[in-house]
């Protein structure tokens, strides 16, 4: 460690040394350092390369607004590109490396761009790279892409864990500088529930960076004391390392707390936490950020903001140069010069653009009414040249172009700040409801004004929230005002003058942008990329606007500003996702037989959030088709059992429940007898088929509706809409009982025999007593309540048996045990699908939200006699068009061939193009019963074309297949089995 460069600092422990590596170079810092302060203390001024010209860059700021010093940072087992060295908290063993260069940081081959800068001016890429056409993707773009970008993303999964949480408070204080501390104390003493967020890892803001006194105590010590005081309040939560990144509707804020970025590894704990903070009121006390001045070669390493030099000096005890010069258009530069001199640093010049400046500094050469026109020094500034020709040797230049109140969060809800011609900055306006802005964020630059403003605003908040206000006095503060005069750009230089350092936007680009007609600030931003870098233009935007105003001979206020948008500082995508990744992306819904199916070795498939058994392979089965074919054949031969719990179940009761169903289903339901079940087709209000299922009448006023798995939630919502919003006069109540009942389909010729073994003796389920479509509330296994429905999706003699979910696991085991003598098989969703296609039932592939009842061949089902959802709209001319699509069956003419779902259908000997397209195959399966491929699909006028051969065109797989249009009922078209 270079001890010469380490002085006393307010927030470091000089005795505790910390070792770290930058580009494999070992360095030593001290406790309390950032990577930037430690590197500066080690004499490392070269941090990075710029985006376009690959110019050597140092560090401009001491905070999260840093445009230059971006590094690749290794933390928690992964590299994090584009990390600001000014925000990385130093820890033992820290690794960082520079980015965006080919070759080393010192010798970057890409720096050749800088020599061709004349040809790389604003928007050059819009004017070339067009010939020959094919070169864009092959040559130009790959070159441009690899040159662009900043850091490199590791192409491996982010190993860190992230978490999310909610917080609630009366008052959120954003920023813990003097205004934030004062607001927190005031609110705390008045009993408000307060959250104080600070992005830095110490509290105090500029109090740690400056040497002001409060109540005759050094500012940073005052901040420490006040923090201790704040910690005594149970109603205050202080969150350091927490950036409030966005302000959203109704007082909701987004914040990121960095939990472990300041240690090497998270140790399995969340690296960062995303907080959503719900507030009644908020106060923005985010301070102000110093801005830059545009002059020739103002981007060299060693050129910093004046206030940043002061921060490095006072907070970290680092003097960043041996010969320091200052360039200022306000009093801030003088303050830095004075403090440097008082700390024993060598200040070689103060250049003040103001003629009338009353400042002076003994022993320091001063140049009033003077500006810097150019600088020299490739990897570190060596000298500056003043407009009058004076050359001054320097290795560090501090620049102050004035201060921008940090109004970002006050503008996230499209607030438009207003320009203050005297303070030369934007002040907050049209602030979101519930927010106040105080301190230098509100344009108060004198410390005592900051304190007063903060207390006053907090007083208003306390009163607004209905608390009695206890007076807090304004502390006595030192400090001086800015007294700023315009100096945005030093003209008369042939060199480039940077405006946006990171994106390499120079004042010439702004002039050219104007020349080409890009006058609006939004055009300026988009054409030159000004302010679009990772710092979101915090140090450059206002400067760019001012230069544009100068060109247009108007004021910054008239030029206007671009829109401030979240986030205030960039937020890791991993943090925003939290734990919702991998298997935890969405919750799993498991069926009641899941554990049992797992024991059986079932293969599962995701259907929505459900996991369902897809098939149950036997040890000798090598291919899924073998399992599925067996399940189908065994079910049709004897009996099979399938968990159908996932179907939506809605329990509907009330005197008018029948009438309600009559209105929500397209087909008539009023006359359904008690103890019977009916198929129901539900239309959307636009007349398109929405959902189908069966509904059972358990008693006069009690119905049990089933929906498809996919629409269970939507149908229930729709029914509630009908009930509450359309037909309040109906006495009807309902509840979703999808999760309340475990339901199994028991299908096959032996299903009744199997059921008879477990249904209690007092219930007769013989055909004559319990025929097809019967339903009833019964008991099984000696008294367990159950519901039995004689419905069939498979086309077999079949039942669905429901028991309360908690018995679901037992029931599947009991059913399988009872079914042993019939060789009962469990079957999964694949076999279910095969059997329903064999039977010609529509499912999700058919009910896709584009298909009408008419398309399904169910047009005649729609009730014309009464008002029901969708019937009127289904009468529109296109719905009733004579040659419309119709659901039919398809088989390959050559039986050994397989159909492919998604094939389009064409008449024979017609060209295969869009205009001639007549339909498509929606669902296909291999029917082990018919021993060939079968399919359902839609084709124009299909029901009148049975027997016709058409072509199934599958260009995706280069497959053309002659197929015959057949009835969709491949098996048992008369329905004898299900009535058996």
């Amino acid at each position: 460690m270079n001890k010469v460069m380490r002085l006393h600092g307010s927030k470091i422990n000089r005795k505790k040394h910390i070792k770290f590596k930058f580009n494999d170079k070992e360095m030593t810092g001290v406790d309390g350092d950032t990577l930037a302060s430690a590197m500066l203390a080690n004499g490392q001024m070269l941090f990075a390369r710029s985006f376009k010209y690959h110019r050597p860059r140092g560090v401009l700021t001491a905070g999260s607004e840093e445009p230059n010093a971006l590094v690749n940072f290794f933390n928690d087992h992964s590299w994090e590109p584009n990390t600001k060295a000014t925000t990385i908290e130093l820890y033992d063993g820290l690794l960082a490396k520079s980015q965006n260069h080919k070759g080393s940081l010192e010798f970057d081959f890409m720096a050749i761009n800088d020599y061709f800068h004349k040809f790389l001016s604003a928007g050059f890429y819009y004017k070339t790279f067009m010939w020959p056409k094919s070169f864009w993707e092959k040559i130009y773009e790959p070159v441009i892409r690899s040159a662009a970008g900043l850091g490199t993303l590791e192409k491996k999964d982010d190993p860190s864990i992230y978490d999310k949480g909610f917080l609630h408070c009366d008052l959120l204080v954003i920023g813990a500088g003097p205004a934030g501390i004062m607001a927190t104390l005031t609110a705390a003493k008045n009993g408000l529930k307060v959250i104080l967020c600070e992005e830095d890892f110490v509290l105090g803001g500029r109090l740690n960076a400056d040497t002001e006194f409060i109540n005759e105590q050094a500012g940073s010590a005052w901040a420490d004391d006040k923090l201790d005081e704040i910690k005594q309040f149970a109603n205050v939560k202080v969150m350091i390392r927490t950036s409030v990144y966005g302000s959203f509707d109704h007082g909701i804020f987004g914040a990121v707390e960095r939990k472990t970025d300041h240690i090497r590894s998270s140790g399995g704990k969340p690296r960062q936490i995303l907080w959503r903070i719900y507030t009644k009121r908020s106060i923005l006390t985010a301070g102000a950020l110093e801005r830059f001045i545009s002059f020739g070669n103002n981007d060299r390493p060693g050129i910093m903001l004046s206030s940043a030099i002061r921060t490095y000096l006072n907070r970290w005890g680092v003097c960043p140069g041996k010969r320091i010069a200052l360039f200022t258009n306000n009093n801030d530069g003088w303050r830095t010069a004075r403090e440097l001199r008082d700390s024993g640093c060598n200040v070689v010049a103060v250049i003040d653009s103001r003629m009338e400046s009353s400042n002076q500094l003994d022993g320091v050469p001063t140049f009033k009414g003077e500006t810097i026109i150019d600088t020299r020094g490739r990897k570190r500034i060596k000298s500056i040249e003043l407009k009058d020709g004076t050359t001054i040797e320097t290795d560090c230049l501090g620049v102050s172009g004035g201060w921008n109140p940090n109004i970002h969060l006050s503008c996230h809800q499209r607030g438009k700040p207003v320009w203050d011609d005297k303070k030369l900055c934007f002040l907050p306006d049209k602030i979101p409801f519930g927010m106040k802005v105080a301190g230098s964020a509100n344009g108060k630059f004198l410390l005592s004004d900051v304190m007063r403003d903060s207390i006053q605003k907090t007083e208003q908040i306390v009163k607004e929230l209905g608390y009695k206000y206890k007076k807090i006095s304004v502390p006595k503060c030192t400090g001086e005002d800015l007294i700023i005069e315009e100096c945005w750009e030093v003209s008369g230089t042939k060199s480039r003058s940077w405006v946006d350092l990171q994106n390499d936007v120079t004042s010439k680009d702004i002039y050219q942008s104007y020349l080409e007609g890009f006058h609006s600030v939004e055009h300026l931003k988009r054409y030159t990329t000004l302010g679009m870098a990772t710092d979101q233009g915090k140090s450059s935007n206002v400067l760019g606007l001012a230069i544009m105003a100068k060109i247009q001979k108007t004021t910054v206020g008239d030029v206007g500003t671009t829109i401030f948008r979240p986030p205030y500082t960039p937020v890791a995508i991993g943090t925003l996702a939290g734990r919702a990744r991998g298997k935890e992306f969405r919750p799993y819904r498991l069926t009641p037989s899941h554990n049992w199916a797992t024991e059986m070795g079932a293969v599962f498939v995701e259907t929505g959030n459900w996991l369902r058994a897809q098939w149950f392979p036997k040890p000798n089965e090598k291919h899924w088709r073998q399992s599925v074919d067996r399940e189908v054949l065994e079910t049709r031969k004897s009996v099979g059992i399938c968990d159908v719990t996932t179907l939506g179940k809605i329990d509907i009761k009330g005197r008018d429940a029948g009438e309600f169903l009559n209105r929500v289903y397209a087909n008539n339901f009023g006359k359904l007898e008690v103890g019977k079940t009916r198929y129901g087709l539900m239309l959307r209000d636009d007349g398109v088929a929405y959902d189908d299922g069966t509904t059972a009448r358990l008693s006069d006023n009690h119905f049990m509706m089933t929906t498809t798995t996919a629409n269970a939630v939507g149908v229930f919502r729709h029914l509630e809409f009908c009930r509450q919003c359309l037909w309040q006069e109906l006495d009807v109540h309902m509840i979703s009982s999808t999760d309340g009942w475990a339901q199994y389909a028991i299908a096959g010729p032996n299903s009744r025999k199997l059921l008879q073994k477990i249904v209690d003796d007092n219930y007769n389920i013989e055909n004559e007593n319990f025929p097809f479509m019967a339903c009833g509330e019964i008991t099984i296994c000696g008294g367990t309540a159950a519901r039995l429905f004689r419905i069939s999706f498979s086309g077999e003699l079949a039942y669905e048996l429901a028991v309360p979910s908690r018995y679901g696991d037992s029931l599947i085991r009991i059913l399988m045990e009872a079914g042993k003598e019939f060789n009962a098989v469990p079957y999964g969703t694949e076999a279910l699908g095969v059997m329903r296609i064999e039977k010609g039932h529509a499912a999700g592939n058919e009910l896709n939200g584009q298909i009408t009842a008419q398309n399904l061949g169910m047009g005649k089902l729609i009730s014309k006699k009464n008002d029901c959802i969708g019937n009127l709209m289904s009468e529109r001319e296109e719905f009733e068009a004579p040659e419309s699509l119709r659901l039919v069956g398809f088989i390959p003419v050559e039986k050994s061939k397989s159909l492919t779902a998604g094939s389009h259908l064409f008449s024979r000997s017609i060209e295969h193009k869009m205009e001639n397209d007549e339909g498509w195959l929606s669902s296909v399966a291999y029917s082990p019963n018919l021993e060939h491929s079968i399919g359902l699909g839609f084709i124009k006028n299909g029901h009148n074309r049975i027997g016709e051969t058409v072509v199934a065109v599958n260009l995706i797989n280069n497959q053309l297949l002659d197929v015959e249009i057949v009835s969709p009922h491949f098996l048992d078209p008369e329905g004898e089995r299900l009535r058996a």
């Binding site: 007082g251 719900y278 409801f433 939630v713 509630e720 919003c725 309040q728 006069e729 009468e875």
Partner: protein, 93 residues
């Protein structure tokens, strides 16, 4: 956003499902003259104001009530929240 539920107090908007123009509760009479025209207008031509908008929200993750929320579509400010049941009491067909 936060919706101040008449019974349950302020709730996060993510508990709700949005439907749209509150006029959707005024379904035309099925058997009126030109009912096809009326249903077309009811379903497809909705209010889409820049400013105050009465709209339907469903408290799906809560008490399953349908609400009429009056909200400004420029500022997102919520001006009023009512249960549909209370708005159309006595509405009979």
């Amino acid at each position: 956003m936060i919706i101040n539920h008449p019974y349950l107090g302020p709730r996060d908007a993510s508990e709700f499902v949005y439907k749209g123009d509150a006029n959707l509760i005024n379904r035309p009479n099925w058997d009126s003259k030109n009912s096809h025209q009326q249903f077309h207008d009811y379903l497809y031509l909705r209010d889409n104001p820049e400013g105050e908008h009465k709209e339907l929200w469903y408290h799906e993750q809560g008490d399953r009530s349908w609400l009429i929320v009056t909200r400004n579509t420029i500022t997102h400010e919520v001006l009023d929240v009512k249960l549909v049941r209370d708005v159309s009491v006595g509405k009979r067909k």
